[in-house]
C-alpha cells in the first residue's frame, strides 16, 4: 500500500527523442489509475519507468515519499503483470506463483508459502491447475497465473501492462470485472496501461490520457467524457467518437457544413472573437427532431440534413452525414485522425438516434441537437473554449468519494463473509454473502495481510 508520485518525469532515448515528456501525476494510496493513449504515446514506457525497468532521464519518482529513481526493480516492491504474461515455462503453476516468495529467502517458511499460494490460487480459481505447466493452460488461465504472482506478495502497488490485450473479447470482459473487484477488495494502488478505452473508462478511478509522451488530461472518466480539456482528449474518449465540425461563429449562431445551430449565449461568449472554431458534438447529443419531447426541445437547435445511411442496432441506431469542409479544415481533421491512430476518412458526422426513429438514408430529415452539451474548440490550439473546469473537478471529486465508499463496502463485505463462515446465515442476503465467501475468502486473507503490512 503506497502512494506514488511522478514528478516531472522525462524519458529520453539515445537519439534525444522524449518518449515521455514532463509528466507529473500524484497517485493516491489505493487509487486505480489508467494510462491510456494511442500506440507510441509513451504509456508503457512510463509504466516501466515506475517499476524500474527503464531508467528515468529527468524528474523524480517517489513511492510513499521516498525517491526511488536509482533503486533496482526488486527494491521497489511493486508487482507487475505483463502483456504476454511472462510465466516461467519450466515451473508449475504453483511454483510460478510461489516464485516471488522463494526469492525473498528466509522470509517465508514452507508452510507460509504453501498457505499464501493456496489462497492466491483460490482467489483466482486456479486450485485445480496448480501442478500443471503454463504450456498446458488456456490464455485466461495463464493471465490469472500472472496475476497470482502479483497478488501473492505484499506488493506496494500493482502495475498492469495491457494485461488483457491478448485475450478474446468475452474473456476480456470477464477478466476486466475480476481485476476491478480484486483491486477494490485488496485496496491496493494500481497503475494500468491500456489502449482500450472501455477498459480505461470502466476500471479507472482516474484516467491519464497521453499523446506523444505528454499528459493531455488526468481526470475521472466522467470528467474526461463531459469536460475534455482539448480536441485530442475529446476525440479519443468515447465510442463512436465525438464529431468535430468546422464552424464560424456569428453572434449565437454557428454556421456549420451541416446547417446553422443556435447555441446558448454563455457558450458563444467564451468563443467570442474567434473566427473559426471546431464544434465538438457527441453522437448521442443528436436526436430525431420528431421524437424530442417538448420540454427538451428549447434546449437545442433543429436543422435539416440528409443522412447517407443508417445502422439499426436494436437499442439505438446510428446515422451518418457526410460533409465537405474547407481544405485547410480538412488538413486539421486529418491531422487529428492521425493523432488518434485512425485512418484519414471522409469527414462524416455520426448521429445516434432512437431505435424507433423512422429517418432513413437519402431523404432530407429534421434533426435536433442538444446545444447545452456541445463544446467549442479553438481550431489552432485545439483547446476546449467551453470547458467548465469547476463542473469537471466536481465530477472527479464525486468519483473519488464513490471509490472510497466502494472500497469500504468491499472490505466490509469481505469481513462479513469471513464471519459468515461460522454459520450466521440470515436470509437471502446471508446466503449470497456465503456464496461470495467461497470465491473471495482467499483474497480476504491476502487483503488482510496487505492492510497489516
Amino acid at each position: 500500500m503506497a502512494s506514488i508520485t511522478l514528478n516531472h518525469l522525462v524519458k529520453k532515448y539515445g537519439d534525444g527523442f522524449p518518449a515521455v515528456n514532463d509528466i507529473s501525476i500524484d497517485i493516491a494510496d489505493g487509487e486505480f489509475i489508467i494510462l491510456v493513449g494511442p500506440s507510441g504515446c509513451g504509456k508503457s514506457t512510463l509504466l516501466r519507468m515506475i517499476v524500474g525497468l527503464e531508467d528515468i532521464t529527468e524528474g523524480d519518482l517517489l513511492i510513499d515519499g521516498t525517491r526511488v529513481n536509482d533503486k533496482a526493480p526488486r527494491d521497489r516492491n511493486l508487482a507487475m503483470v505483463f502483456q504476454n504474461y511472462a510465466l516461467y515455462p519450466h515451473l508449475t503453476v504453483y511454483e510460478n506463483i510461489a516464485f516471488p516468495l522463494r526469492l525473498a529467502k528466509g522470509k517465508h517458511s514452507e508452510e507460509q508459502v504453501n498457505k499464501l499460494v493456496t489462497e492466491a490460487a483460490a482467489t483466482l480459481e486456479l486450485t485445480d491447475h496448480l501442478q500443471r505447466k503454463p504450456a498446458n493452460l488456456s490464455g485466461g488461465q495463464r493471465q490469472r497465473v500472472a496475476m497470482g504472482r502479483a497478488i501473492v506478495r505484499q506488493a506496494d502497488a500493482f502495475l498492469f501492462d495491457e494485461p488483457l490485450s491478448n485475450l478474446d473479447a468475452k474473456l476480456r470482459g470477464q477478466m476486466r470485472s475480476e481485476i476491478s473487484q480484486m483491486q477494490r477488495r485488496l485496496g491496493v494502488t494500481s497503475v494500468y496501461v491500456t489502449h482500450d478505452q472501455t477498459e480505461a473508462m470502466t476500471l479507472g478511478d482516474r484516467v491519464a490520457v497521453l499523446k506523444k509522451g505528454e499528459l493531455q488530461q488526468i481526470a475521472s472518466p466522467r470528467e474526461l467524457y463531459e469536460q475534455p480539456r482539448n480536441l485530442f482528449v475529446a476525440g479519443f474518449i468515447g465510442s463512436p467518437s465525438m464529431n468535430f465540425l468546422p464552424a464560424t461563429l456569428e453572434g449565437t449562431t454557428l454556421k456549420t457544413a451541416i446547417g446553422d445551430l443556435e447555441i446558448p449565449q454563455e457558450k458563444a461568449q467564451k468563443a467570442a472573437g474567434k473566427k473559426v472554431v471546431l464544434v465538438g458534438v457527441r453522437p448521442e447529443f443528436f436526436e430525431d427532431a420528431k421524437l424530442v419531447e417538448d420540454s427538451k426541445r428549447p434546449h437545442g437547435s433543429t436543422f435539416a440534413a440528409t443522412l447517407t445511411h443508417t445502422e439499426w442496432l436494436g437499442n439505438e441506431q446510428y446515422g451518418y452525414i457526410n460533409f465537405d469542409p474547407a481544405p485547410e479544415m480538412r488538413d486539421l481533421l486529418n491531422g487529428l485522425a492521425r493523432d488518434m491512430d485512425a485512418d484519414e476518412l471522409r469527414p462524416q458526422v455520426v448521429v445516434t438516434l432512437d431505435a424507433s426513429s423512422r429517418i432513413r438514408g437519402g431523404r432530407e430529415s429534421e434533426l435536433w441537437v442538444d446545444t447545452r452539451k456541445l463544446h467549442l474548440f479553438d481550431a489552432e490550439s485545439g483547446e476546449n473554449l467551453t470547458r467548465d473546469a469547476e463542473a469537471g473537478a466536481a465530477l472527479t471529486r464525486e468519483a473519488a468519494e464513490e471509490r472510497a465508499e466502494e472500497i469500504a463496502t468491499a472490505q466490509q463485505a469481505d469481513r462479513r463473509a469471513d464471519s459468515g463462515g461460522f454459520g450466521s446465515g440470515n436470509g437471502a442476503t446471508g446466503g449470497n454473502t456465503t456464496v461470495d465467501a467461497g470465491r473471495t475468502g482467499g483474497a480476504t486473507a491476502a487483503g488482510g495481510t496487505h492492510a497489516a503490512g
Partner: protein, 282 residues
Amino acid sequence: MTNTSTKGKVLWAIVSVLVVVYALFPVASILATSFKTPSDLTSGKFLPSSGTATTSNYEQILVGDAQGLFLSALRNSVGIALIATFIAVVLATLCAYAIARLDFPGKKVILTTALAVSIFPVISIVTPLFNLWRTIGLYDTWLGLIIPYLSLTLPISIWTLAAFFRQIPWELEQAAQVDGATTWQAFRKAIVPLAAPGVFTTAIIAFFIAWNDFVYGISLTSTEAARPVPAALAFFTGASQFEAPTGAISAAGIIVTIPVVLLVLLFQRQIVSGLTSGAVKG
C-alpha cells in the same frame, strides 16, 4: 489426399534409408574390419571370413602391446575434450547472454572476430603455435591443447548460444527482476533452465570438435603425456613390421566412437525444442 501422403511417406522412408546406409556404411565396415585377423584383411569381403572372427585387435589395444599407447591417449582425449568443452560452454554462455541482451559498443566486433577466428585455417596457426608453445613450455601438455581447442569451440558456441538466447523472451527476466530477483538470480532461475537445451547442444558440438581434432593433436604433442587418440592412431604399428595395423586402428576407431554415441543418446532428451512454449502468448 491420403494417397499422396502415403506416397510421400514411402518416398521419405526410401530417402531416409539411403541416407542412413550412406552415412553408416563406413562405420559398419570399420566395425567388421576390427574383428578381422591380419591375414583376412585383404580378403576383399565385407565380413570376416567364417570362423576367423577374432577380438585380438581389441585385446591388442586394451591389454596387449599397444595398450600403453592407446589407453593413455584415450585418457588424454577424454580429459582434454571435457575440460575444453566445459570452459568453452561456461564462457560462451556468459558471452552469448551479453550479446543477446545488452547493447554495448563493440558487440558487432566480438561477433565478427569470433566468426573470423572460426574460419581461420588451423594449419596456418599450427607452426607459430608449435614454436611459441615450445618456448613457453606448453608443448606436449594438456593445457597446450586445451587453449587451441578453445579457439575452435568458443566461436561456434557463442554463435549457437547467442541465437538461442535471442529466442528467450526478455519479459521473463524482467518479470523475475520485478518479482525480486537480482540480475544474477534472474539469469540463473529464469533464463538458464530455458537455455539448457541450447547449452547441451552447444556442449555436444564443442565436445565433438575437440574430440575429433587431429592437426593440433599431432603437432603440439610428442609423448603420451598429452597425445590424444586421433594422433595416437597414427603411431600404431603392426605386430611385425610386415603387418599393417589396420585391425588395431579399426578397433580403436570403434572405441572412440562409443563416447560420441553415448553422449548423443544421453542428451537426446535434453535437446528437445519447444521448452519455452507457454512462457508468453504465442
